[in-house]
């Protein structure tokens, strides 16, 4: 545990430029991941109710 903690400290925290860059990079990744997660939860919750789920029923007849 101490080795991991020291690795984290020496890799990210020792230089402030690296620390801030890592924070902004993580914020970007976090934003993308958060959006994806929330969208997937939303789609799962509303499964069968959205247009993309029921589109087949209505478009098949026309083609």
């Amino acid at each position: 545990m101490a080795g991991f903690a020291n690795l984290f400290y020496n890799t990210f925290v020792r230089r402030n430029s690296v620390y801030v860059t890592a924070i902004f990079g993580s914020a970007f990744a976090f934003g993308v991941g958060f959006d994806t997660a929330v969208t997937s939860v939303w789609d799962k919750w509303n499964q069968g109710k959205q247009w993309k789920d029921i589109r087949d029923k209505y478009i098949q007849d026309e083609e």
């Binding site: 101490a2 903690a5 020291n6 400290y9 925290v13 801030v20 914020a27 976090f30």
Partner: protein, 279 residues
């Protein structure tokens, strides 16, 4: 009262318990042999005998007389005739500072872990704050863009099956004419084979069309905004009657005063390429 006191072996009372009729304070039955104050190591029991912190007998002291407690002090200790045995001092020295408990069990085994955890928590808070700030800004900017219903009204759908090959269709989109041409194979090969690098506004045919058989352009002459005429001009494309600009079959300016090619709007094919959506 005396009978009650007699049942007790030792009794420590305040020095004055009552006042005699003469006004002299009286403290009968006071125990002058109170034990020493000791710590918890002897469960509150000090060593037997007089208190060690009382003045030595040769300097005077308290004595209990029938007339009450009498205190004597000798200004000068006798120089001879007094012999004192000195014993090794064994009483526990009084601590002048309060006893501090040992917090060793609660201290960190390894300070580097705590340091890394602190920085990790700081960084995590920074990540959350940065995401919150970013989404605040983007959501605020999104409120300035056109809403979905306005955008939906600003689009035009065209049924592509109704346009035969080699025909032009002009539709109205946001108040401007849009040319849609279903090009023949000859026209496509002609548009592609043109040496476009030497043109006034060099653009390849591939960059102007998403599918080579469908050419979609804004029907506004780039010179002064007239509407060009289709299937006319020296290059088989469009011709602007106002000042004589000639556009080729890819809508590129070839001759005349216009400085730029006919503009290509945003468009997309949907529903299995049977429909074209401009906007």
């Amino acid at each position: 009262m005396a009978a009650l006191f007699a049942t007790k072996k030792a009794f420590t009372a305040p020095p004055t318990v009552r006042t005699l009729a003469s006004g002299v304070p009286s403290a009968p039955l006071i125990n002058l042999a109170a034990r020493d104050l000791h710590g918890a190591e002897h469960h509150g029991h000090g060593a037997a005998g007089p208190r060690s912190d009382t003045p030595a007998k040769f300097s005077g002291g308290l004595s209990n007389t029938p007339n009450g407690v009498v205190s004597k002090r000798y200004a000068n200790a006798p120089t001879t005739g007094v012999f004192q045995q000195r014993y090794m001092h064994t009483s526990v020295p009084a601590r002048d500072a309060p006893k501090v408990p040992n917090f060793g069990a609660y201290e960190a085994k390894d300070p580097s872990t705590n340091r890394a955890l602190s920085y990790f928590m700081i960084g995590s808070l920074g990540v959350l704050s940065a995401s919150a700030a970013k989404s605040t800004v983007t959501e605020f900017l999104a409120t300035m863009s056109a809403s979905a219903d306005v955008l939906a009204l600003a689009k035009v759908e065209v049924e592509l099956a109704s346009i035969p090959e080699g025909k032009n269709v002009i539709i109205k989109w946001r108040g401007k004419p849009v040319f849609i041409r279903h090009r023949t194979q000859d026209e496509i090969s002609e548009a592609k084979s043109t040496d476009w690098k030497g043109l006034r506004d060099p653009e390849s045919d591939e960059s102007r069309t998403k599918k080579p058989e469908w050419l979609v352009m804004l029907g506004v002459c780039t010179h002064l905004g007239c509407v060009p005429i289709g299937e006319a001009g020296d290059y088989g494309g469009w011709f602007c009657p106002c000042h004589g600009s000639h556009y080729d079959i890819s809508g590129r300016i070839r001759k005349g005063p216009a400085p730029l090619n006919l503009e290509v709007p945003q468009y997309d094919f949907t529903e299995g390429d049977s429909k074209l959506i401009v906007g």
